[in-house]
């Protein structure tokens, strides 16, 4: 069965490059460029994993994560926080808020695939 990854990220370049890496590894990739749209797609598509950026216009990644975890339909989808900006206690904060992992951009394609493989489908 095809595994779906939803990327919630406002930078088109990141979406395209991440999509290429994951598609080459056999994943189906969907994307949303803001938090609201991302939450809607998570509810309609119920992906196997969400890659979530923090700094986005509108509601930011933390708020998106909170809403995903509050909604019973999306609460069990593993979410990997995916950020280019340093956050104080980023690891700790994301774990406390229910994220499955915390990953920094730029990334090594192989490491990203490894991490996605680790968490994909591991519904909480």
């Amino acid at each position: 069965m095809e595994r779906t990854v939803l990327i919630i990220e406002d930078e088109k370049l990141i979406i395209v490059s991440t999509q290429m890496v994951l598609e080459a590894a056999g994943f189906r990739v969907e994307s949303a460029t803001n938090g609201e749209d991302g939450i809607a797609k998570a509810r309609s598509l119920t992906p196997d994993l969400v890659l979530l950026d923090i700094m986005m216009p509108g509601i930011d990644g933390w708020e998106t994560l909170t809403r995903l975890k509050r909604d019973t339909e999306t609460a069990n989808i593993p979410v990997i926080i995916f950020t280019a900006r340093e956050h104080a206690r980023g690891h700790q904060k994301s774990a406390e808020m229910g994220a499955a992992d915390y990953f920094r951009k730029p990334f090594e394609p192989d490491e990203l695939i490894e991490l996605v493989e680790k968490h994909v489908g591991q519904r909480i």
């Binding site: 280019a84 900006r85 340093e86 730029p106 990334f107 090594e108 394609p109």
Partner: protein
Amino acid sequence: MTCTSEATILVVDPDAAHAARRATALAGRGRTEVAGTVARGLQELAAGRPAMCVLADALLPAELSALAASARKHGVYALLGADARAPDALELALRAGCDGVLTPDEPAAGVDDHTRRAAAFAAAHRLDRQDFEALRRRYETLQQRCAQQAESFQESQESYYLDLARVMTIISNIMDGIVFVDRGGNVTLLNPVAEDLLGTKAFVAVGRPLRALQGRADLLGVLVADHDRVGSSREVSQTVEVHHSEQDLLYIRCITSRVADYSGQPAGTLTVLKDVTADYKSDQLKNQYLSIVAHELRTPLTGIKTFSTMMCKGTLGPLTEKQLRVVDSIREQSLRLEHQIDKLINLGHLEADEYGQDREEFSVAEFTAGLVLPFEQPARDRQIALTFACEGADDECLFADRADLRRACQALIENAVKFTNDGGTVDVRVVRARDGGLRFVVKDSGIGIDPRYHRRIFEKFFQVEDPLTRHHGGAGLGLFVAKGIVEAHGSRIEVSSRLGEGAEFSFALPHRTESAAAAPATAGQAQR
């Protein structure tokens, strides 16, 4: 009986004929001088002429008393020559202060007897006089010295009060708060700035225990804590947020140092309260700016790195050898750029007090896996033998911010590889220290560091070489960042090196023990 050559018998007798007879009678018993009047006789004695004996005759009792007193004062034997054998001659002589009586018909033996007593008297008085002279000289010398000492004491007292006035003027007018607390924990000095910051007054605080002061509780609490913990170290410092007024939030750096008395014994503590609000705010702005810049740089970099990596791996189809070389170079440069951005972020990190925040437990084996990997290729390219050894500590448990600790260790390895000449060696080891803890050690055979730079190499942007002519790249941030991380974990980087003799950097790894679990938090607090 012989007289000393100086010894003289002074005959004081207004009757010249009588005096001449006396002189004749005394011939052979010393040189005889004759004074015709009492005044003359007193003059002779006052002049200090050496006289052994005064023989007075035919004088009034008052004159005789004056002469005898002068004779006694000058240590001369006084003798009354009695013409008549008056029964009261001896009494008169003694009352007037004479030592004896000489009668005209006294046999030679009697004269000799008087002469002997006069000589003994003179000798005894001469000795007394010598002692007296010596004592007088010593007294004068002492008096002189006392006067000198008093003068110099006054001078030093004046200079002391002047110095004290200067110091007090500085303390009163300085822009920093100053608080001095004695060994017993009582406040002994509080300047106006400290009064304002602590919310108390010197006349209330001085003489009272620091911990009993009423005022701005947050800052006073820090002062009490620092006063207690400075005992084990020379100086402790921390930055505290102080709500000075409703709109005014201040950042106060409290630096507490031990003070020793003249014999080196602890005399108390001195706390300097520095308002670092402006620096702190500019740091915050700088860090926000750095964070935004890093984000803006990392986003396009993610694309460049991902695409070039995929092309190198052939995921997007086969490339010619030339294309592969170009794409590989793009990938390598993107990695370098990423590394530089990381360093910039680390710099911001240190100043935002964010090192060592994500602490967790992990094994030494987990930590060291792949630690030297990024440096293997660069080392091979320059024929540097890069070795790694973990001496039986694989299963030990560390408690630290794993990513930060990795950055610190890699900064030391990178530094060692960079400053080692082609064909040299770099040994990375985790060893067991004597105290049972673990140490991370990087030893190289590189160019070494002059001991005078051992402290400065940890300064931000510091490079030993001239930046325009140097052979080794880099921004001068690696060691600065490593130091910040290691200190945030409660340890310190030790350097051992001489110019041309390689270098060894090492620090104690944050080992998981009961005490280690609590200790780093305190050490981290002292950092900002």
